[in-house]
């Protein structure tokens, strides 16, 4: 299944001549510019390999594995995952809860948390900025795989993402555009823990 998924992704890239393996910076905003859109150049690999390859996202990569979502995020997709950095998970959950969340007993919680960080399709930063600009700098929304809403707004040069329950995070570091989606590192969690970590 995984093989075929990757083959399909590769085939799609070949068919559209819109993919290359050079670099992982995405471009294109979907706003009436075919050449800009065609220049989107995802690197080889999947969301899972991108997470594992980013030294700041090790905790999120571990949660993907423990939640059983690696098979999904290695598949066709595409998905965009807003991946909290290790520091963000540490700060949002605390050492103890983060440790518990990685355990077998809390796989459902890990899956629920991650689904709230994943949206359908390919969302590059350029796409998000273009959407905000097209909305006359008003926030724009995307729905997650946990049926929650993410709101994107400009915060100076940065992009801020927030949720109705008050979680907020800035997009940070470099996005990774890969064959089956995008990894967007963020400085916070998009779900709040009900009790403050001890």
């Amino acid at each position: 299944m995984r093989k075929s998924a990757l083959v399909l992704t590769a085939a799609a890239c070949l068919a559209a001549a819109g993919c290359s393996d050079s670099g992982n910076q995405a471009a294109g905003n979907g706003q009436g510019n075919a050449s800009a859109n065609a220049s989107v150049a995802p690197s080889e690999g999947t969301i899972v390999t991108a997470l594992r390859g980013n030294s700041d996202l090790g905790a999120t990569a571990a949660l993907v594995d423990s939640a059983g979502l690696a098979s999904v995020l290695e598949g066709v997709g595409p998905y965009t995952i807003f991946a909290p950095t290790d520091a963000a998970l540490q700060s949002g959950l605390g050492e103890q809860h983060l440790g518990e969340l990685r355990g077998e007993a809390m796989r459902p919680q890990a899956a629920a948390l991650l689904r709230a960080h994943i949206v359908p399709g390919v969302l590059t930063r350029r796409d998000i900025v273009a959407a905000i600009e097209a909305a006359h700098n008003e926030p724009v929304e995307m729905r997650t795989m946990a049926d929650t809403m993410l709101t994107f707004a400009r915060d100076g040069e940065a992009i801020l993402v927030s949720t109705p329950d008050g979680a907020r995070a800035r997009l940070t570091g470099e996005e990774s555009a890969v064959g089956n989606g995008v990894v967007q590192p963020i400085e916070g969690m998009l779900r709040r823990a009900e009790a403050q970590p001890g």
Binding site: A5, A12, C19, Q31, G32, L101, A110, A116, R143, R191
Partner: protein, 358 residues
């Protein structure tokens, strides 16, 4: 090889024997046989001569000296000859060994060449097989790419043509008492941990279901509690009761996955594909055991002629289709669950669904 060694050994021995048998040449045993034996002359006859006078003695002494000198000379010559012979034999043996070594080396070289040839042949076979498989893969990939490219142009404007995932949010909750609790005949009161109804630090992570209800988690299930504290319903969860190796809960309804989605996501295992609560699972058709967690879907309601669902404010079309479907003043394009939808930017009405692959 052994045969060759034996043959060479026999040859060496024959050469040595032949040398020993050459006429007119002094060799160890032969020289001794021809040599005059002084002891013989000193036999009974010799003793008789000794009884003669001093001149005879002096003459005999001189003869004996000459004989001894001659014998010594003979022995020296013999030793020299033996040395020479040994040298020759050694040289012969060296030569034989050299020849045998060369022959063995040649044999080994030949065998190596043969083996290499075999390997090359086998390698060629394997390379050919690999090339065939690669060609097959490329063909298959090409077929898929072609299909995708073909289907990419198919814009569906009739809602009846669109295969959609059937979704009912209510399907996530199984009403009533879980079988395990029902067997206790205690009014479906949950175990101690649940009865305490303590809210865990992750409890709000399930809030998509029903904010008004009280849900608590226990052991792979989410339980909905009635005001009395009894369990009113339950939901098997991804990562808990719904996990590879677990048998699908008999009471838990799920929807079949239309062919289009299996094609799009590239499902090619011989599984039953089930959709429940936004997750597509692969099940063993015989045992109904979960084999794989395959895809996450939003299950959002995209219907041609209807308004686009909330929460698609950002262009999110897959890379491969961006050169073809990009936002303009007349149309937006948004991706969701295997389709790209064309939307009127002004009215937000869905104009078409675009299949990406079959």
């Amino acid at each position: 090889m052994r045969k060759l060694l034996l043959t060479a050994g026999v040859l060496a021995m024959s050469v040595a024997t032949a040398n020993a048998a050459k006429p007119g040449e002094n060799r160890g045993g032969g020289a001794r046989a021809e040599q005059p034996r002084g002891g013989g002359e000193r036999g009974p006859g010799g003793r008789a001569e000794n009884r003669r006078g001093g001149n005879d003695r002096a003459q005999r002494g001189g003869e004996r000296r000459e004989m001894r000198m001659a014998q010594r000379e003979n022995r020296r010559e013999n030793r020299a000859e033996r040395r020479e012979n040994r040298g020759e034999q050694r040289a012969d043996r060296r030569e034989d060994r050299g020849e045998r070594r060369v022959e063995r080396r040649d044999d080994r070289r030949e065998r190596r060449v043969e083996r290499r040839g075999d390997r090359f042949e086998r390698g060629d076979d394997r390379r050919e097989a690999r090339a065939d498989r690669r060609d097959d893969r490329i063909d298959r990939r090409g077929d898929r790419a072609e299909r995708r490219a073909e289907r990419r142009a198919v814009v569906l404007r009739d809602a009846r043509q669109v295969q959609r995932l059937r979704f009912d949010r209510g399907v996530g909750l199984i009403d009533g008492c879980p079988p395990g609790l029902a067997r206790r005949n205690n009014g479906c009161m949950p175990p101690g941990q649940l009865r305490q109804r303590q809210r865990a630090w992750y409890n709000n992570w399930w809030d998509r279901r029903d904010d008004a209800a009280d849900f608590v988690y226990d052991d792979g299930y989410l339980y909905r509690l009635a005001p009395s504290g009894a369990v009113a319903g339950f939901v098997p969860l991804l990562g808990g009761a719904l996990w590879p190796g677990q048998t699908w809960p008999t009471q838990y309804n799920a929807y079949d996955v239309p062919d289009y989605y299996a094609d799009y996501y590239g499902f090619d295992d011989p599984y039953d594909y089930r959709l429940a609560d936004g997750v597509i699972y692969g099940l063993d058709p015989q045992t109904q055991a979960i084999q794989s967690i395959l895809a996450l879907v939003t299950d959002n309601d995209w219907q041609i002629g209807q308004q686009m669902p909330d929460g698609y404010g950002v262009y999110n079309v897959p890379y491969a289709f961006r050169d073809q479907y990009f936002d303009t003043a007349d149309s937006w394009y948004r991706y969701d669950d295997g389709y790209v939808y064309q939307v009127d930017p002004t009215t937000q009405l869905i104009q078409a669904a675009i299949q990406l692959i079959t």
